[in-house]
């Protein structure tokens, strides 16, 4: 029980950890990792119901997908291109980051390596069955192995897209057109595409209200 308590205290740190993607956009009081996880779990619950998914597995996957961020850095698509100067950062964010296919592969390989190591450290003292379950769920999520893994992986990007659109309307600091372009390259699940259409309808409506 002591190790479970330690684990819960450790993951509690995610409640106050602001997501780096919003910090670099200079969004004040931005969403934390725990808030992002909460939001994703609900997206999976409400849209996963329509599909023939193992919903319990999908929601568990949403809950554990970013636990590695207790130790791992919260990398953004712009890493490692980001300069240190705030003004230069805002300039960099005006364009979608460009990498060759070889660099994209290398970036992804390194990201998965760091994240898996961090996750294994975090769960190392948990009971064996729980540790195995979390590890397998994360591997499924990160490589999109099963239909649940592929759905949650895309849903993770979509909930981020929704948050980005909300910040765009509130603060105007988000390059919304780049986000719309990106989301249409990475999503192929029909129910999630339908949801994206609804997001667009709401945020690009002339009578938009918060």
């Amino acid at each position: 029980m002591k190790n479970i308590l330690e684990f819960l205290i450790k993951i509690g740190e995610l409640k106050g950890k602001e997501r780096r993607g919003w910090v670099i956009h200079q969004i004040k009081n931005s969403e934390s990792t725990a808030e992002h996880i909460f939001h994703l779990a609900f997206l999976v619950l409400v849209l996963g119901r329509k599909k023939r998914l193992n919903l319990e597995r999908a929601i568990k996957m949403a809950l554990i997908h970013d636990l590695c961020e207790v130790y791992a850095p919260d990398l953004t698509p712009y890493d490692p291109l980001l300069p240190k100067n705030k003004k230069e950062i805002m300039e960099t964010l005006k364009h979608w980051p460009k990498f060759t296919p070889a660099l994209k592969k290398e970036k992804e390989r390194k990201k998965l390596e760091v994240e898996s190591k961090s996750l294994y450290v975090l769960i190392s003292k948990l009971p064996k069955d729980l540790k195995t379950e979390i590890k397998n769920l994360w591997l499924d999520f990160s490589s999109g192995l099963t239909k649940e893994g592929r759905f949650v992986k895309q849903a993770d990007k979509i909930i981020n897209f929704l948050q980005g659109m909300e910040y765009w309307k509130k603060y105007g600091k988000i390059q919304h057109h780049l986000w719309v372009r990106w989301i249409k390259e990475i999503t192929d699940d029909r129910s999630l595409l339908e949801f994206i259409k609804e997001v667009e309808k709401k945020f690009y409506s002339k009578t938009w209200k918060n």
Partner: protein, 207 residues
């Protein structure tokens, strides 16, 4: 009267039951709607067979081999698990967590094996177009585009092998769908409240 198509776009099946009161006009309408569907099918829009609701899984040779390997390994694993000693249901007065975990694993293994069987049954290998048609974007194409003033490179793959983080875009994504069937020099507009234009610079097929 019904209009249906089978899995492959090359074998559209038109079925109709024409009452004596209906004439050539109906046949003409069927032919017209079939002609409209062919370009869509070529561009990968029609991915399911409405008769069976089976989904087609477009895979590279390596992708299919990987799936078959996983299927064989999981079958062996399931067999070895059910052959061995099953943990006891009760551990003192509580349910034994090892037993629950064992049952969950078995249930997951079963559903994953069924999923893989379904994929293997409905898999279609991606084959490259003949040389003369290699300027046209099809599944398996590696393309160079210019979008928002920047160049970008992707490969168009089936949903199971898609991984946008490494530049592999699904043929079922809005961008993948829009690009299919276009050739070098075309400008493809992805429609939404925000208009994005993809200028196709280069198309190639590498095994």
């Amino acid at each position: 009267m019904s209009l249906r198509h089978c899995k492959d776009y090359r074998c559209f099946v038109i079925q109709w039951q024409i009452n004596s009161s209906r004439g050539l006009g109906i046949i003409f309408k069927i032919i017209k709607s079939t002609i409209k569907l062919i370009p869509l099918a070529r561009r990968g829009f029609l991915l399911t067979n409405p008769m069976t609701q089976d989904k087609r899984f477009y895979l590279t040779k390596e992708g299919l081999e990987k799936i078959k390997r996983e299927y064989e390994e999981l079958r062996k694993l399931k067999f070895s698990k059910t052959k061995g000693e099953v943990p006891k249901i009760l551990h003192s007065e509580d349910l034994n967590p090892e037993y629950l975990s064992f049952q969950e694993e078995l249930s997951f293994l079963g559903s994953r094996i069924a999923e893989l069987e379904y994929i293997i049954k409905n898999a279609k290998l991606i084959s490259f177009p003949p040389r003369g048609k290699q300027k046209i974007i099809n599944l398996g194409a590696e393309i160079l585009v210019e979008v928002d003033g920047q160049s970008d490179e992707f490969k168009i793959v089936g949903t199971l092998e898609a991984n946008p983080a490494v530049g592999k875009i699904s043929n079922e994504s809005p961008v993948g769908q829009a690009l299919l069937g276009h050739k070098v020099g075309d400008e493809v507009i992805v429609s939404s409240p925000i208009k994005t234009i993809y200028k196709i610079k280069k198309v190639r097929y590498l095994s």
